[in-house]
């Protein structure tokens, strides 16, 4: 009964804290930041917005980018690069996740998964979890900003930045999956004398496989949306050209790239939906 009370109390308290945060944030934005909401709808801004939209649609432009075959070819090439970048990113993240995920599961650390308790289990668990938190908490764009200092611009630094962020997310999701599986089949395998490798092959992987694929595919969908963003800081693909066109005021090219980006997102969503259906 007491426990129940705490449950409600905590949720209610959180709700009030959230409400307080909202009030504080909005008043901060209106007072300290001096944001003027109605100023947004001034005549000048209306003019800017209208002009911007017209430029995007290629009104008044001599040769809008989306009417020239040459631009379409460039855009197609860039879209392909972007797709390759997203595949590499998801691949790197998956490799990192698979290498670390088993010791990162709580059930492995306390010995119930492998049926062998080691003194270093919890230490490795802690180290890997800290790595997950680190890589997850830093956004892709900031990873990309740092990595671009090390690698030359191209699709590889973009892929690495995306992989670093998604490694932490995939690791966390997949480790939780392993923690949640039914341990009985594994125990029965172990008691019938299976080796450690056999336990993993026959006990662990069949159970978690579908879930892992679902997570990987889900992250791929997110990654393809983010490729454009890491491109902003110089990591190849559509995003890079998008930024260049934006700074050169080639607005019709921006429209073309946005269009290609939307198509790419749609394509990946379709493929991933198909893959999910296969694993189901």
């Amino acid at each position: 009964m007491k426990h129940r009370k705490f449950k409600i109390g905590f949720v209610r308290g959180s709700f009030f804290v959230a409400l307080l945060l909202m009030v504080a944030s909005w008043s901060f934005i209106f007072t300290v930041e001096g944001a003027d909401f109605f100023g947004l709808f001034s005549e000048k801004n209306r003019q800017y917005t209208l002009e911007f939209l017209q430029n995007m649609l290629g009104v008044n432009a001599e040769t809008p980018a989306f009417t020239s075959l040459e631009s379409w070819k460039t855009a197609a090439k860039l879209s392909f690069d972007t797709l390759v970048m997203s595949i590499m990113a998801v691949g790197f993240a998956t490799i990192g996740m698979i290498l670390t995920v088993i010791p990162a599961a709580r059930t492995a650390a306390n010995g119930t998964l492998t049926l062998k308790k080691t003194w270093y289990g919890w230490i490795i668990y802690g180290i890997i979890r800290v790595f997950y938190i680190f890589s997850r908490a830093i956004p892709e764009l900031i990873w990309a900003m740092m990595i671009i200092f090390i690698f030359k611009p191209g699709i590889l630094p973009g892929a690495i930045a995306l992989a670093l962020h998604n490694f932490g997310i995939l690791g966390k999701l997949c480790a939780e999956t392993i923690e949640d599986i039914d341990l009985r089949p594994i125990r029965s395998l172990a008691s019938s004398g299976a080796k450690k490798s056999q336990i993993f092959l026959y006990g662990l992987f069949p159970t978690v496989f579908s879930k892992f694929i679902t997570y990987i595919v889900y992250r791929w969908e997110v990654i393809i949306r983010t490729t454009v963003v890491v491109g902003f800081v110089g990591a190849g693909g559509l995003g890079h050209q998008f930024k260049l066109s934006m700074s050169w005021f080639h607005y019709t090219e921006v429209t073309l790239f946005l269009f290609c980006y939307l198509i790419l997102v749609l394509l990946v969503d379709l493929i991933s939906e198909g893959m999910r259906r296969i694993t189901r």
Binding site: K7, F10, V11, S14, L21, M22, A24, S25, W26, F28, I29, E33, A35, F37, G39, L40, N45, Y48, T49, F52, L53, D81, V84, I87, M88, V90, I133, F134, R136, A137, I138, P139, L141, I142, M145, M146, F149, I150, F151, K152, G154, I155, F209, S210, I213, R225, T226, V228, V229, F232, V233, M246, L258, Y261, L262, V265, L266, M275, I278, T279
Partner: protein, 265 residues
């Protein structure tokens, strides 16, 4: 048995294809000497050094604290609008306000689903860029840029939740003569609210990260400071700001997990 075997094969084939596609993608990178900048590896060493010796001088800490608050404030404000957008568009795109049969439900569903899909297909930073180009550097550019894609996600999830509400209490309401609006307020929303709240809390963590990168288009916050310090090649300062970012993300993550555990249990 046969179908099960086929199923197993399908999974193996899928894994194989995925692996091949990944290996194929590696061939598009020039793995030669052109991979690194000439000073790239020493930069990496400096970055790692900065990680262990972050700049903890009072001025930097104060700056970090202020930027953290700004990042948080934009995230909260964006999330508020996203919640409003998500609830309104979610209700409209679930089609529950329309009668079960007829073209109205279909139209409302497809139009608003399409709108939500468009809102979330474009990344928040691209939205921010478009807003800054159209209306200049105001905090609203950041707030709207968070609100639109997150509103799209929340709306989609909320619509799915509304459609999954069990039909028995709704039938009871309906048979006692409740209008569509009354069904929504007394039937659908009370059932879907806990799940929606827990999802909003989960998304809040992502919103903080998004808010941190809004700086990239010139809007203040943690990301802006990180960018400035990177341009000055002061990696120790970069890590100070990054630790603040990690700290706030972890705090919100733990908080949202605690709330979710109690809401959904």
């Amino acid at each position: 048995m046969q179908t099960k075997l086929l199923h197993f094969h399908r999974k193996n084939i899928l894994t194989f294809v995925m692996l091949m596609v990944f290996i194929g993608s590696l061939f598009f990178v020039d793995w030669g000497k052109n991979l690194f900048h000439s000073g790239g590896l020493s930069t990496l060493a400096q970055m790692i050094q900065g990680l262990f010796q972050p700049d903890l001088s009072p001025e930097i800490l104060q700056l970090a604290l202020v930027s953290t608050w700004r990042t948080l404030a934009y995230a909260v404000a964006g999330m508020t609008l996203a919640l409003i957008l998500g609830v309104v568009l979610g209700v409209l795109s679930s089609g529950i306000l329309m009668s079960d049969k007829g073209i109205g439900r279909f139209l409302s569903k497809s139009i608003f689903r399409g709108l939500l899909g468009f809102m979330r297909a474009i990344h928040e930073l691209v939205w921010a860029w478009l807003f800054v180009a159209a209306s200049g550097l105001t905090p609203f550019a950041a707030i709207f840029a968070i609100a639109i894609p997150y509103g799209g996600i929340l709306g989609r999830i909320f619509a799915d939740m509304l459609n999954e509400v069990s039909s028995q209490p709704l039938n009871a309401l309906r048979s006692s003569g409740a209008t569509r609006m009354q069904q929504l307020i007394y039937g659908y929303i009370p059932f879907a609210a806990p799940d929606l709240m827990s999802y909003v809390f989960y998304r809040f963590e992502c919103a903080i990260r998004s808010s941190a990168i809004m700086s990239f288009v010139g809007l203040g916050g943690l990301g802006f400071q990180i960018q400035l310090s990177l341009q000055d090649l002061k990696y120790d300062e970069v890590w100070t700001f990054l630790f603040f970012l990690i700290g706030i993300v972890v705090i919100v993550d733990v908080w949202s997990q605690m709330v979710r555990k109690r809401l959904v249990a």
